[in-house]
């Protein structure tokens, strides 16, 4: 059913443009999945540390982040599908495909660094609320002066 649909669309237009779109969707979505899986796997320990060892919370945040990541990226990929020049031959098809995939990669990169920035903020906030490791020995009375 699916290959037939694609073949029909491709055959109908007979054009490089449709093949470019198909290749674009395939490459972009695979890249998104790969990046999301990598982040999910390697980001866990970073999150656990940012959340001061609270593992269940870290796992939950990790999962929610991956869901948001998929939504934003696949949303972006589908929205950006029709914009840009239309391919007329193999050369323009490759050029357009490259531009579009490049844009997706840059957006993925920006999101990635934005996530890291948020985590480091969280980590800093957590250190501000960590209690001192030792107890004071005695009180002094402070007067304003």
């Amino acid at each position: 059913m699916k290959p037939m649909l694609i073949a029909t669309i491709a055959g109908e237009a007979g054009s490089a443009a449709v093949w470019t779109y198909i290749a674009y969707l395939f490459v972009s979505v695979s890249l998104t999945v790969w990046v999301a899986r990598t982040l999910h796997k390697n980001g866990r320990i970073f999150l656990v540390d940012s959340l001061l060892g609270n593992e269940p919370l870290a796992d939950s945040v990790n999962h929610l982040l991956v869901v948001g990541f998929y939504l934003i990226n696949i949303g972006f990929v589908t929205l950006a599908l029709k914009y840009g020049d239309k391919a007329t031959d193999a050369q323009t098809a490759l050029e357009i495909l490259s531009t579009k995939v490049g844009l997706v990669l840059v957006v993925l990169g920006i999101m990635h660094f934005f996530n890291l920035f948020i985590f480091s903020k969280m980590r800093r906030r957590a250190t501000l609320h960590r209690p001192p490791p030792i107890l004071p020995e005695g009180p002094v009375k402070m007067t304003r002066g």
């Binding site: 960590r130 001192p132 020995e137 005695g138 002066g145």
Partner: protein, 139 residues
């Protein structure tokens, strides 16, 4: 804690060096430095004189809790952005007697050295602090 008052003996070399180092570090909270010799400013803290002979450095939190002896060094490290981790490590019973020596090393040897120390495991670090100058720790 929102603020840390650091009292230091301005006639003590070690305290002066510590002061100079602490001022140069990025803090997590504002630090206010008060020399023991500034009697007017000292008078704002009733009862602080009882702690003066505990060492050349004292820490007082903004709620009035006093940290004296080795704890003074630890609370100073706790208030610094780059050294808060050290305050947790050094407050273990194994390191508390060595806290002054550790503080001295951290504050004189620079950031690179402190990162090297960070990589040592506990017994090796304790050895380094207890026997300064010996380059090799027991295997």
């Amino acid at each position: 804690m929102k603020k840390l008052y650091v009292f230091y003996d301005a006639q003590d070399d070690f305290a002066l060096r510590s002061y100079a180092w602490l001022v140069a570090q990025p803090p997590l909270w504002p630090l206010e430095f008060i020399p023991f010799q500034a009697s007017e400013r000292m008078a704002r803290f009733q009862g602080i004189d009882d702690f003066r002979r505990r060492g050349p450095l004292l820490g007082v939190g903004d709620e009035g809790g006093v940290y004296a002896g080795p704890n003074a060094f630890i609370i100073c490290l706790y208030a610094l952005k780059d050294y808060q981790e050290w305050s947790y490590r050094l407050s273990a019973p194994m390191f508390l007697p060595l806290a002054r020596r550790a503080f001295e090393l951290l504050s004189t040897q620079g950031r690179k050295f402190s990162r090297q120390m960070e990589r040592l495991d506990d017994p090796k670090l304790a050895w380094l602090l207890e026997y300064p100058g010996s380059s090799s720790a027991p295997g």
